[in-house]
């Protein structure tokens, strides 16, 4: 007997799913903000000439790039309060985990963009008598930013997808909202398919837009 699709489980509970989507968006934006902030600091540390700054930054980056984010979520949510008495809400724990984990990746995006600018650009600026600060701001950063754009967007997408791990902490985001709806309606196929399609639509559309913007940026400079 063929399965009969029935999306009423979704249509009747769309407010729950919508508020879940809101949770996903808030967590994503907050996570990106924290990740960029810490990531920029880490990148500056790694690029500095001082070993005491470079080493801790490198260790941090390597650790968080090479361990699963789910472990970080649990560490912040269950580990911290038990040992240190710092209790984080599910949002706080998810934000800490996301921000810190993605900071490692953002740091590498920023650093990669900056070191990718050819040495000749530094030299040309110096030869014109530009100060380091001005040279960095006017010559290096604009070129680096352009090269960072694609990996930066990619990292943001990864982060958005990673927010679903907060469902494991029972934080109310899209996936957790879906789980709630499923336990009430016993319609996993329809509900989870809709959730997948929502992610697909949003992320695919966003990636198309960013690709288009990038192509336009290149065309504008005659390349």
């Amino acid at each position: 007997m063929p399965y009969v699709w029935d999306f009423s489980a979704v249509t009747r509970n769309w407010t729950v799913l919508l508020s879940g989507l809101g949770g996903t968006i808030v967590l994503s934006l907050a996570g990106i903000a924290v990740g960029i902030l810490i990531g920029a600091g880490l990148a500056a540390m790694r690029l500095s000439g001082l070993r005491v700054l470079r080493w801790p930054a490198t260790a941090w980056i390597e650790f968080f790039r090479n361990t699963p984010p789910l472990v970080h979520f649990f560490w912040f949510f269950y580990g911290l309060p038990m040992a240190f008495g710092i209790t984080l809400s599910s949002f706080g724990a998810a934000l800490a985990a996301l921000g810190i984990q993605s900071s490692a990746f953002f740091a590498e995006v920023f650093r990669g963009g900056i070191v990718s600018v050819e040495r000749g650009q530094w030299e040309a600026g110096r030869a014109l008598g530009m100060s380091r600060a001005r040279l960095f701001r006017r010559i290096i950063l604009p070129q680096a930013a352009r090269r960072m754009a694609a990996p930066f967007v990619e990292r943001c997408f990864e982060l958005v997808k990673t927010t679903t791990l907060a469902a494991a902490l029972a934080h109310h985001e899209l996936l957790y909202a879906a789980m709630v709806v499923v336990t009430e309606t016993y319609r996993p196929l329809e509900v989870y398919t809709v959730v997948a399609l929502l992610f697909l639509t949003v992320l695919f559309a966003a990636s198309q837009v960013s690709e288009w913007l990038e192509a336009r940026g290149r065309a504008m400079q005659g390349r």
Binding site: E118, G120, Q121, E123, A124, R126, A127, L128, G129, M130, S131, R132, R134, R138, I139, P142, Q143, R146, M220, Q221, G222, R223
Partner: protein, 260 residues
């Protein structure tokens, strides 16, 4: 002959070591106002390193550089010079440089490339900087390319923009490191013509080049660098036509026998 022109730039006993390799082994050089010095030498002889030491893009391991009679940096008491970043920035505003690879700023339009340093470093107003840039671009024959992007220009045009960019700072000395070496042969002429035009205005220049014919007619003095030392120097007629040193002679032969 009138009284000699004042000394603009001088290098005394310059040495430069990278790791364990001695690239410059004691170079002395005095550049007077209006001189045009061609630096010759085979690949790896230290020509680029010498130029880069002269504007302190590389800090010499030993020896001193003086601009307008004032020694740059101060002795650190151990026989070397200490340099202050700010001071070096000031020096570099007065010693221009043109690179083999042009190094235009790809994210700025042609005129913005030329305006950037007069505006940001010399603190000129936008109108002033723009006037300077337009004048320099016209001088290299690229006035109509002002709003183009560097990537839209040919190599020869890019290098002429780079020359205009350096001249917009009105430097006392202009250093050119093989300005035509990465150009297609048919584009070399336009760049050399732009450089030649500068000699008419009496610009002081040091140029590293393999264009011996150009060096012969353009330079007031030729310097042959070998193995980190000045092996021979003198007027072009002497160094290029009647070199004293065997090595210089062989070098010149190698570069002339290609021409027919």
């Amino acid at each position: 002959m009138t009284s000699p022109e004042p000394v603009v730039l001088s290098a005394t006993a310059i040495t430069k070591r990278f790791g364990t390799v001695d690239v410059l082994k004691g170079v002395d050089l005095t550049v007077r106002k209006g001189e045009r010095i061609a630096i010759l030498g085979s690949s790896g002889s230290g020509k680029s390193t010498l130029l880069r030491c002269l504007n302190l893009l590389e800090r010499p391991t030993g020896g001193t550089i003086a601009l307008d009679g004032r020694t740059i940096g101060r002795p650190d008491g151990k026989g070397c010079q200490r340099y202050d970043e700010r001071e070096l920035d000031r020096v570099r505003t007065r010693v221009g440089m043109v690179f083999q690879q042009f190094n235009l700023f790809p994210h700025m339009r042609v005129i913005e490339n030329v305006m950037e340093a007069p505006r940001g470093v010399l603190g000129k107003s936008k109108a002033e900087a723009q006037a300077i840039a337009e004048r320099q671009l016209a001088a290299v024959g690229l006035a109509e390319k002002a709003t183009a992007w560097p990537a839209q220009l040919s190599g020869g045009q890019q290098q002429r923009v780079a020359i205009a960019r350096a001249l917009a700072m009105d430097p006392e000395v202009l250093l050119l490191d093989e300005p035509t070496s990465s150009l297609d042969p048919e584009l070399v002429g336009e760049v050399l013509a732009a450089i030649r035009a500068l000699s008419d205005e009496g610009r002081t220049m040091l140029i590293v080049t393999h264009e011996l014919g150009f060096a012969f007619h353009f330079a007031t003095r030729v310097l042959f660098l070998h193995d980190g030392k000045v092996l021979e120097e003198g007027p072009p007629e002497q160094v290029l036509k009647a070199p004293r040193e065997e090595r210089t002679r062989r070098f010149i032969e190698r570069f002339t026998e290609r021409r027919f």
